[in-house]
């Protein structure tokens, strides 16, 4: 009996400590990589200006509420859990830094990886009579009715990072990354290196994710078009450094020649480099193998700075300046020329990157 009691106490202690552990990181689902989560920018970019113009008629009402709340613009921000990934952490920190009282905002934040919880948060914000609702939806579906409520209440909705399956008239603007463009920028950079032969080890992300499709597409097209571009091996390492290491190791063991590693995220590039190091293959600026990664993790940009890697493509988490601009435009009565705004995304070259870039763009 005593022993049983003891074991129950021990077990409950374990459980409790687990619960305590879990407390600070609720909903941190096992995400594979920062970019996998991101949704693709809608292809259609020809947007009419009509909806935005219609909204103008509601301007006075919006200004009334801002005046009543001490000239601060009230924004409700619904985001995914910042613990989800490095991308999300950077994204959240950027929003928090932008929407402060000094910048004229009264911001409230709500986080969830679950769509229904996000919708509940949106309803709360509508009841609180915010002026703007900023939304990075967990799921693309199910937003119509709540966004209609928001429209009826005169609240303007701006989507960031992810698009949703809802009528375009329900939101003012959508600010997204274009994964295909990221891939194109990287491939253009590689083409600019003027290599005689381009023999690529292509490490793909989880198959079917938006980031994988966009970043693979550009390279595949180029390889099909150019005679001197070959893909030595094309494998999915599922965003995983260890898998990438094994794939590259396998190519090295086979004795196949290659001179470019095109990894669709930084982790996989890191794994590939570990395999190169083991086999004494030099990599980086002016060396045998060109290493390319994506996402601009800080540690990856430091590798660029040390010239161990050659290129890193950005997946921009800093949408707040775009949102800020849109709100300023709408507040001053202006209209937006485009509904879908695709962010500038840089590609960093190891030869030109500076410490400043690492500090500014590293996530």
């Amino acid at each position: 009996m005593k022993r049983k009691l003891l074991s129950i106490v021990m077990a409950s202690a374990m459980t409790l400590s687990l619960v305590a552990c879990g407390g600070s990181s609720t909903n941190t689902a096992t995400e594979t990589a920062s970019t996998e989560e991101k949704t693709e920018a809608p292809a259609a970019e020809e947007k009419t200006e009509e909806p935005a113009a219609e909204e103008k008629t509601e301007e006075p009402a919006a200004e009334d509420t801002t005046a009543s709340s001490g000239k601060l613009i009230k924004v409700g921000i619904i985001n995914n859990d910042p613990n989800e990934s490095g991308y999300r952490t950077a994204n959240d920190a950027d929003l928090k830094a932008r929407f402060t009282e000094e910048n004229g905002y009264d911001a409230s934040f709500a986080y969830s990886l679950k769509n229904d919880e996000q919708i509940a948060a949106a309803q709360t914000f509508i009841q609180d009579e915010v002026d703007y609702l900023l939304l990075s939806a967990a799921d693309t579906a199910g937003w119509d009715s709540v966004l209609k409520d928001a429209q009826d209440a005169g609240i303007k909705v701006i989507l960031f990072d992810r698009t949703i399956d809802a009528d375009e008239s329900l939101y003012e603007a959508s600010i997204v990354s274009d994964m295909a463009k990221e891939g194109q920028t990287a491939v253009d950079w590689l083409a600019g290196q003027n290599l005689e032969q381009v023999n690529v080890i292509h490490l793909q992300g989880v198959m079917g994710s938006a980031a994988q499709q966009g970043r693979s597409g550009a390279l595949n097209d180029k390889v099909a078009a150019e005679d001197n571009w070959n893909i030595v091996t094309q494998q999915t390492a599922e965003w995983n450094a260890e898998n990438a290491q094994q794939i590259v190791q396998s190519v090295i063991d086979a004795g196949t020649k290659f001179n470019v590693i095109y990894a669709e995220n930084d982790d996989m590039a890191k794994g590939a480099v570990a395999a190169l190091d083991k086999a004494n293959i030099s990599h980086g600026v002016g060396k045998d193998v060109i290493v390319m990664g994506f996402d601009c993790n800080k540690w990856a940009l430091e590798e660029l700075l040390a010239q161990n890697w050659n290129y890193d493509g950005q997946c921009n988490p800093f949408q707040s300046s775009y949102i800020d601009e849109i709100i300023k435009t709408l507040e001053s009565g202006g209209t937006l020329s485009e509904k879908t705004i695709i962010m500038d995304e840089k590609g960093f070259d190891a030869e030109t990157i500076t410490q400043e870039d690492v500090d500014n763009y590293g996530i």
Partner: protein, 361 residues
């Protein structure tokens, strides 16, 4: 030995009946396929790494190297399977927890320390304690509360990676000390991967334990019939608990290798899906997943068969979308052939063939 006279029929039967038969056949089959395709598969060359130290390289070395974690996990998983008649599906997540704890100690909670904050051995011991605590947690749920192992370990399977991220405040620390990379790489001057030595050490330890303690016997007894083993004075609760704790220790060693390979960690993908491979290794070894008798060496061999298969698939450059499907087909074949039922029938077939041959003669 008196039966030695009894010709090759009993030898054949013994061979087919041996648990090592299936993993060995699989290994030989894979080896032959590779030999036909490209004899260079078995070439081992002595080269140098970037640090200028000599290292062996080649597919065989790669298999030995990358199969290590799986081999170590197979040891613990075999014991858990035998004693509890179920599997631990949380090993991947607990590798993340143990690895994260290790980095927390080494880097002191900062993501970019200039030097390690504690000796590696201390960090490893902490990881061992953490791994064993996770094992103990699973063990208590299974042994004391009689929850099905797969359900009990589902808790850590789900929560583990979040806990791992929380331990380091979601930072991704990088260990600055090059010595830390020795465990998953090479010790300067020694051309064989360190991981091989770690596995050998683990095998020696478990071999000694099985030889000089009653662990193996008691584990099988509990797995075969819990009640009768209790009547014979064995404490089934403790034995089950113990096997989970041992698995926790294996997890900590595997975590050391995993984290050391890249000197950093990625909570969401480290050791992803490794639990399934570990369970598969046990099944490939011909061990009944419902518990009872087990053969440790067959499981470890099974682990290397899986790695052999993975490396072979990479070598054949199977396209990304089809990789999982190919693996599944091979796995189905292997598992079906190692199923006790099929083996029994195969044994009978062998016997028949033997006797019919004799009849003809």
């Amino acid at each position: 030995m008196s039966k030695q006279i009894n010709n090759n029929e009993s030898f054949l039967k013994r061979l087919v009946g041996n648990q090592l038969f299936i993993p060995l056949i699989a290994l030989i089959l894979l080896a032959v396929i590779n030999l036909i395709n490209d004899p260079g598969f078995f070439k081992i060359t002595l080269g140098t790494n970037n640090a200028g130290y000599p290292v062996f390289s080649g597919y065989l070395i790669t298999i030995l190297d990358y199969g290590s974690e799986l081999g170590i996990l197979a040891i613990g998983m075999t014991l858990v399977t035998a004693a509890s008649g179920g599997q631990d599906i949380s090993v991947g997540a607990t590798i993340a927890i143990a690895g994260s704890a290790m980095l927390r100690i080494l880097c002191g909670g900062t993501s970019r320390p200039t030097e390690i904050q504690a000796p590696i051995i201390v960090a490893f011991l902490v990881a061992c304690v953490v791994g064993m605590l996770c094992g103990a947690f699973n063990g208590i749920l299974v042994a004391v509360f009689k929850i099905q192992p797969m359900i009990a370990t589902l808790i850590l399977f789900t929560a583990g990676r979040s806990i791992a991220a929380w331990i380091n405040n979601n930072e991704l620390p990088i260990v600055p000390d090059p010595k830390f990379a020795y465990f998953g790489g090479f010790i300067p001057g020694i051309p064989i991967p360190t991981t091989v030595f770690i596995v050998i050490a683990c095998i020696i330890v478990i071999a000694l334990v099985l030889k000089f303690t009653n662990l193996g016997l008691y584990t099988q007894a509990v797995g075969i019939n819990e009640n009768s083993s209790r009547l014979n004075g064995i404490n089934p609760t403790f034995i089950k608990f113990l096997t989970f704790v041992i698995l926790g220790l294996c997890v900590a060693v595997a975590a050391l290798i995993k984290v050391s390979r890249l000197s950093t960690i990625n909570y969401s993908v480290i050791a992803k899906d490794i639990e399934m491979d570990a369970i598969l290794a046990v099944a490939l070894g011909g061990n009944a997943l419902s518990g009872g008798k087990f053969n440790m060496w067959a499981s470890i061999l099974g682990a290397y068969v899986i790695q052999f298969l993975t490396t072979t698939l990479y070598k054949f450059n199977v396209s990304s979308d089809a990789l999982a499907a190919y693996k599944a087909v091979v796995v189905i074949l292997l598992v079906v052939f190692s199923a006790p039922k099929v083996r029994e029938q195969m044994g009978q077939l062998g016997k028949k063939l033997g006797s019919s041959k004799k009849g003809v003669a």
